[in-house]
Symmetry: C2
Subunit: 146 residues, 2 copies
Amino acid sequence: MQPIESLQQQFEARCRKLGLAVTHQRTVIYRELVATGEHPTPEAVYERVKAQIPAISLGTVYKNVKTFLDAGLLKEVSLHHGTLRLDANTDPHHHMVCRQCRRIFDIPESEIEPVRLKNLPESGFQIDRFSIEVLGVCGACAAARE
Amino acid sequence: MQPIESLQQQFEARCRKLGLAVTHQRTVIYRELVATGEHPTPEAVYERVKAQIPAISLGTVYKNVKTFLDAGLLKEVSLHHGTLRLDANTDPHHHMVCRQCRRIFDIPESEIEPVRLKNLPESGFQIDRFSIEVLGVCGACAAARE
DNA sequence: ATATTAAACGATAATTATTCTCATTTGTCA
DNA sequence: TGACAAATGAGAATAATTATCGTTTAATAT
């Protein structure tokens, strides 16, 4: 019979594999991130963690969030938060984003088959439109890597 | 025979309709935004405009960008730039975003039919994955508006 | 268990992106 | 052309994030 690992145990194992110390702060930050079904900001995580570790500093939250992102334990919802990117193309279209150089290319809406949901969305959610991002590496960046 | 409006004339007409003064700065900012096929940051727009109006201030660029966004002449590429949003869900999934309260709901990948491009992408672009955002208004916000 | 050492922490300064304020200048319209 | 509201430029203020650095803590080898 398979041992059932607790979240805590899984977390510790992943840290060890990554060479990361299992600190109290790190553990609580991760636990809270998983606990909230939301997609919190670092500030919101800080608030939740502070309820349990009053002395924690916001910088520690940021540092660990970055560590977790690098380690793949966490994802960021948007590739291009951080600075406003403007789009003067008013025709309906989607985007192709290079994760290397962050350049953004337009894809006319007509190039993509319409999105179809298999079931009805979250109760009462009124859909305006779909926005598709094709993520990958652009020709130039792929070439630059040989 | 229909008169062919220049971009400049179209822009002036839209400004008039919106009650916006047609200033030199505003005109050049908009022209540069349309000229670049890219999706520039305000800073990048500022650099381009400064080549033509050396005395322009970055604040003016920001103010006009905001004005254009409000007016719908411009879009922002990402709804949630500005602050990092974290996601501890490591299963492949997409997002449903409320443009009112900015809450983000997960949609399991299996709920959406796979995206299909009709033609090959931008030369040499290597696709990693697709990220779909369903934009609209969540149940709670829709209810709050009556 | 304890000593050693590198990693992590907390406090806080620094940086970056963005917004705000206000005195001056410039379009708009009579 | 003149009056007035709107827009501009300069720079201060704020928000989000990163960096620095002295102290504390977890990992590990005794």
